[in-house]
């Protein structure tokens, strides 16, 4: 999930395009962001582009609220996500030991 290879759709319509945009909007490559933006607009439409930008931007902010206040993941969520959190590498993030879950 965190690799540099071209993303696949992951079973979600236009998934690769959405991942490309989400990656570019957090990065520093203006040309890549412009290309990712145009790609979504051309294929999915302008409303899809603005809603994608809205979601990406909101989560870029909400991550900071979570990380700056040190809230743990709810126990119930930690329990039901334990297997795939390990599988996709979330448990290896620097903050995992600090803020893993409430339990």
């Amino acid at each position: 999930m965190m690799g540099d290879d071209a993303p696949s759709d992951g079973g979600i319509d236009n998934g690769a395009r959405l991942i490309r945009f989400a990656t570019a909007v957090l990065g520093d490559d203006a040309a890549e962001l412009a290309a990712a933006r145009e790609d979504i607009a051309d294929v999915m439409g302008g409303a899809a582009l603005t809603d994608t930008a809205a979601v990406a931007a909101l989560f870029n902010a909400i991550d900071r609220v979570a990380d700056a206040t040190g809230i743990p993941l709810e126990d119930a969520k930690a329990e039901v996500t334990a297997d795939f959190r390990a599988d996709i590498g979330i448990d290896d993030f620097a903050a995992a030991q600090e803020k893993g879950h409430a339990g």
């Binding site: 991942i19 409303a47 990406a56 609220v65 993941l73 993030f93």
Partner: protein, 251 residues
Amino acid sequence: MTEISYQNLAQTHNWEVREDITAAHRRAWQRLGQAGTWLTGAEKIAIARETRAALDCQLCQDRKAALSPNAVQGNHDHTGQLSDLEVEQIHRIRTDPGRLSRGWFDGLHNDGMVEERYVETVGVIANMVAIDTFTKGLGLDPWPLPDAQPGEPSRTRPPAKRQLAWVSTLAPEDAIGTEDETLYGGGPTAPHIYQAMSLVPAEVRGFFDIAVSQYLPGAAMRDFDNEYRAINHAQIELVAGRVSALNQCVY
């Protein structure tokens, strides 16, 4: 006075921004210039300006590239309007949130950080990131900051305690019967992200005013029989998950 509008995108590119997003951004910009709970309007504008300046800070870039942010010492490139303590808080949250630690937070506290101001500052940063990332995503320049309005902070503190997070939070059961009872919809439980900034309830209300327009209202999040946006639930969560993975957010 800045008037936020995305109408030109519809005219020039046929990219429609929902009116509820525009309205939420306008309300956020209005709040930004006004005195809050622990910060004056001028302090909030200074924090907003510093949030943007952090992206050009060489120390932050060097730390971000290092194996550990603690391995790189130096001085931040900053606007000169805030204390070193506030600059460190703002820059680290803006540029490297995934590696914030309890030790870092306790260090700020030991150096004189005021917890209530810290939480309100987190709220200002979050609002700025939500709106600035949105404009960046659409190829727009950041909106000019609003003018600071006169006025004093209210300095009202809910019965929050150190119980859930690094910062004090207002538990849902402790909100019942207080002026902040509606913060969690009056219920006995609430997701931790709703409680995160509850030491300053106005910041919770302000941030989630943006969240329901840029993401989804609570009921819509769990309504998989209907779609509410131009991208569907699965696509929304894919974008959210990718952003959070890049930020190394474990929440």
